[in-house]
Symmetry: D2
Subunit: 139 residues, 4 copies
């Protein structure tokens, strides 16, 4: 399916609608097969022992999946997550960003579904797996 | 099953191990049937339109479920979420805290499972439903 | 919300639209708070060791959740499950039916969400927990 | 990770431990990256309108994921599914088998996690996505 918003357009839009994210996340690139997003890990995302918190991993997957949907349908501020499933697989590597690679599995008129694998930057084994459904508001 | 940590002990412990939470969450009460936890909603938890963000709802469910497990087994810092499923049901009411009511469904030697319903304080219809599995580290 | 199909009407309808179920499942009762459904366990539902198979437990939850939705909106043959999450908690008791108790968490115009706890008949600790989303076809 | 049971060995083992499956499912092939499994769709798996039932899709994913775990660790009859998440994406094509392609995401000492995409034989767009966690019994 054709890409209607690339990485630069997505980053500009996310900064506008989610100013609280405040540079924590960025879309790295998007093509017709996949979208990659980064969590710039800082102290605020860590749990004792140096692991990245579950909510921060959830937020990264949620943002990547929102991004992959918008990359195909354009700016839809009111698309909302209706369900999410996450498996936490391994402790993230200390001091590294997290990268989510996301694929769009369904883009219907009402519902879109995508999944993501999340890894520590530079490591192969996944830290988490997530899948989410978004409801797309009707005009 | 007997309660070994009550609400005050849980709050003290969570403040010690998760200082970043910084007063955002509190355990309201716990008994042998249920645990209630509160997200003190502030600007930082909101999305445009005044709705509480998905990651903040995830964090509340995660904390409540961690709390209900600790209430039975005591301080286990390294218990980790292994899987989570969340359904987002309704937009939270504007300007209200969120309350999670959580029940423990299984407490095995290795795995514990609990679920939670999350509501806007003072409203009956649930905002979200979550279930999570925790792995309990072996001594 | 008002009940528009009771247990007898639901059982007659399910027998008509799902003849393959062939008496394996029945709706026991339904009111404004909950619906109870039974899996009449036979050899065909068992795995080695006498445990009820995962797909049979999934089928019971799916049927109970479909039932609770129809109890409120009437006959909608083309409502379909869009997502499901199941936690398997304990081995079912040998030689006993399974009972699912289900509650409706959301009934929107497009999506309905319910969850269910499944127990061996006569036992308190749950065997499984399930939650499912159904898409409701638009007229 | 090294393959210790190939497709032929897995099929022989599954026929022995799950005789009720009775030829409905087969492992097509397995290598170090993926396992493919087939549901030989018959009348018994269908719902009105010719769609494959949700429980049959669940069963295919469950079997494929069990297979990919055994392909690495050998015969472990008592490995059990502890949690499952399934998204149903599209109506399967009429009169076609279903194929699950499965990847192992984590193989720990206690828990294994895998996911699967399920398609109608000969079609690209996925019919369903599933992820499951298995608990591996300790010797």
């Amino acid at each position: 399916m054709k890409i209607v918003m690339g990485a630069a357009a997505l980053n500009a839009y996310l900064a506008e609608v989610f100013p609280q994210l405040n540079g924590s996340f960025s879309i790295e690139d998007v093509d017709e097969v996949r979208l990659a997003a980064r969590l710039h890990v800082t102290e605020a995302h860590l749990r004792p022992g140096g692991t990245v918190s579950g909510p921060a991993i959830f937020a990264l997957a949620d943002l990547a999946i929102y991004g992959v949907i918008l990359s195909r349908i354009g700016q839809v501020p009111l698309a909302v997550t209706t369900s999410a499933s996450v498996d936490f697989l391994r402790k993230p590597a200390a001091g590294r960003d997290l990268l989510a690679v996301c694929r769009l599995l369904k883009l219907g008129r009402l519902l879109a579904v995508a999944d993501a694998l999340i890894r520590s930057d530079g490591s192969e084994p996944p830290v988490a797996r997530a899948s989410m459904t978004y409801a797309i508001p009707q005009k």
